[in-house]
């Protein structure tokens, strides 16, 4: 009988190193009023969505959704972040891939989820024309800022720019 109890005790799931680290990161997030996390399954801390609603800059008035996917190798590997909408941004392509250095080549285990969130927020304040994923948008930003701002407005309303249909992302 004792043996069975021991066996039962052994079968108990253990907290993994990644889980502990994610708990630490999440509970210490400094979420400003422009960022919101949502856990579709609150038991699963490794998959959640992030909504950024910039309150200044050229993307003000929009609400942008990202999926954040953390694997069990975290923090050795960075979280996988994708934009779930089709948006007009020099550093986000039409499939939702995001060009942010700390999400790939500059990721280090000392960075945390807060760094990622701050980095994403920064992309909406300072779109970067030098590292483009959406080349046309980057080109526009570099050459004709007025037109670029106009395109952002059009895209956020769900408009069409050069044959690409963008998602409506205006805050309801």
């Amino acid at each position: 009988m004792k043996k069975n109890e021991d066996a039962a005790a052994k079968k108990k799931p253990k907290t993994s190193a990644a889980q502990i680290r994610v708990q630490k990161d999440l509970t210490e997030l400094e979420l400003s009023s422009t960022m919101k996390t949502h856990f579709p399954d609150p038991v699963d801390l490794l998959n959640f969505t992030l909504t950024i609603t910039p309150d200044e800059g050229m993307y003000k008035g929009g609400s942008f959704n990202f999926s954040v996917n953390i694997n069990t190798n975290y923090p050795h590997e960075p979280p996988k972040v994708k934009c779930t909408q089709t948006i007009y941004h020099p550093n986000v392509d039409l499939e939702g891939n995001v060009c942010l250095n700390i999400l790939r080549e500059d990721w280090k285990p000392v960075l945390n989820l807060n760094s990622v969130l701050v980095g994403l927020q920064y992309l909406f304040l300072e779109p970067n024309a030098d590292d483009p994923l959406n080349k046309e948008a980057a080109e526009e930003l570099r050459k004709n800022r007025e037109q670029f701002l106009h395109n952002i407005k059009t895209s956020m309303k769900g408009g069409n720019i050069r044959g690409v249909q963008y998602d409506r992302v205006l805050v309801q």
Binding site: K10, K12, K14, A17, I20, K24, L26, T27, T37, N97
Partner: protein
């Protein structure tokens, strides 16, 4: 060859019959008498030989480049009960160094072929293969071995087995401490280390020594590829999800690799980049490192199993790129290691205590000094300070009794901004 059983097959499972006179003459040289560096507890003679040859059960994880060497060496130095796990099948590119495999074996599971080969070649040895993942096996499985040797190729698998073995340790049962010998090679460089879970530094302790995986800026991949690797990454990171949607890329599937190769090659042509080959494609997406055999792991294994000599303490590295250089040092335990660091703090509380009361106690405790702790068990969140959604969701737990949420003797993981890492609390009720 469908004749009567050969002498080797009859010898299998009957070790004494196979141990002819002086079979282990050379091995016996170190087992028959103590030497200057033997452990004081080492008793030379028949007992240790009997242990090694009849009762010692050993597990080899990985039957690849290192695994083949390890298996052969173990079998030849007298281990009779060997188990091997590998989830891979044999690829033609393995044949140059994974000498237990032949061309006819291509496509078959490594573990099974390796086990058959060893049993046919070395009389009296039983090798039990398992074709699958290490994660398929539970604690009871790992509990049966005296020693575990790894010849793995991924960080993830090493972290898993390391954490599993550390968790297996029960302070009241010395048998539950399973020495782990981890070997690794990369080109001309190799290393071997000994991990005595909870006693020496563990794999997680040294995670900060790893090079970060090579990653290229996604914008470079998308717009300005310069290297063949950029084209391959483009195919696997951007094109695969775009074309195949949610279908997962299986890096072991030749068809998938073939598709990536075709796409990467076309891209390379477009940008006039040379050097995209099938094997480079496979190498980039699987993070393959060319391997050269190493026998260090086995030396450590033999010494530990018999305590016939001081064992490797605890990290050996070999750099053979410019001449031969080797160095052994003791990698120290990290006190804040999330896997093996920090003993669990025992606290006993009343069965009536609420979560709120427990948190209050943790905050007030002088020797912990934490502010705003978040608590969870392995399966559920007890109370999270943030983010708002999880705080709201776990807030009702504050009023509940701890004993309703945590079983007697279970661990609670406590994190807080003021704690450099985390704290394990073991709760007992009075």
């Amino acid at each position: 060859m469908a004749t009567a059983p050969t002498s080797t097959t009859t010898a299998n499972g009957n070790p004494s019959a196979a141990d002819w006179q002086d079979r282990y003459h050379h091995v016996d040289q170190v087992l028959d008498r103590p030497g200057p560096r033997t452990d004081p507890s080492f008793l030379a003679g028949d007992e240790v030989k009997a242990f090694l040859r009849t009762s010692c059960k050993i597990l080899v994880i990985g039957a690849g480049g290192l695994g083949c060497e390890i298996l052969a060496n173990l079998a030849l130095s007298g281990f009779k009960d060997i188990h091997v796990i590998d989830m891979d099948t044999i690829d033609i590119s393995n044949l140059n160094r994974q000498f237990l495999f032949r061309q006819k074996d291509v496509g078959k599971p490594k573990a099974i072929v390796a086990a058959e080969f060893i049993m046919n070649r070395v009389p009296g040895v039983t090798v039990t293969p398992y074709y699958g993942k290490i994660q398929d096996k539970d604690d009871d499985y790992y509990m049966q071995f005296n020693l575990i040797i790894c010849g793995l190729d991924s960080v993830e698998a090493r972290r898993w087995i390391n954490a599993t073995l550390v968790n297996l340790v029960d302070p009241e049962n010395p048998e539950s401490l399973k020495p782990l010998i981890d070997g690794g090679t990369e080109g001309f460089k190799g290393q071997a280390r000994v991990i005595l879970p909870t006693v020496t530094s563990c794999y997680e302790c040294s995670l900060d020594m790893l090079n970060k995986p090579t990653a290229f800026p996604i914008c470079t991949i998308a717009n300005t590829p310069r290297l063949p690797e950029h084209c391959i990454e483009w195919a696997s990171v951007l094109e695969w999800p775009r074309v195949h949607g949610d279908k997962r890329l299986d890096t072991d599937d030749p068809e998938h690799i073939g598709w990536l190769y075709k796409i990467a090659l076309a891209r390379a042509k477009e940008f006039k980049i040379e050097g995209v080959t099938w094997s480079l494609t496979q190498g980039v997406v699987k993070n393959i490192i060319p391997a050269i055999a190493s026998t260090n792991a086995i030396i450590a294994a033999f010494k530990i199993a018999t305590s016939s000599a001081a064992y490797l303490n605890n990290y050996f590295m070999l750099i053979g790129t410019d001449g031969v250089y080797s160095y052994t040092f003791e990698h120290e335990k990290r006190d804040d290691c999330p896997v093996c660091g920090g003993q669990a703090l025992d606290i006993s509380i009343s069965k009536e205590w609420t979560v709120d009361r427990l948190i209050e106690m943790l905050v007030e405790k002088q020797d912990i000094q934490i502010k705003k702790p978040s608590l969870s068990t392995a399966t559920k969140q007890i109370y999270f300070q943030a983010p708002p959604q999880l705080e709201e969701l776990t807030r009702p737990n504050l009023e509940r009794k701890v004993s309703d949420l945590v079983e007697n003797g279970d661990h609670i993981t406590v994190t807080a901004a003021s704690l450099p890492f985390n704290l394990m609390v073991r709760v007992t009720y009075v």
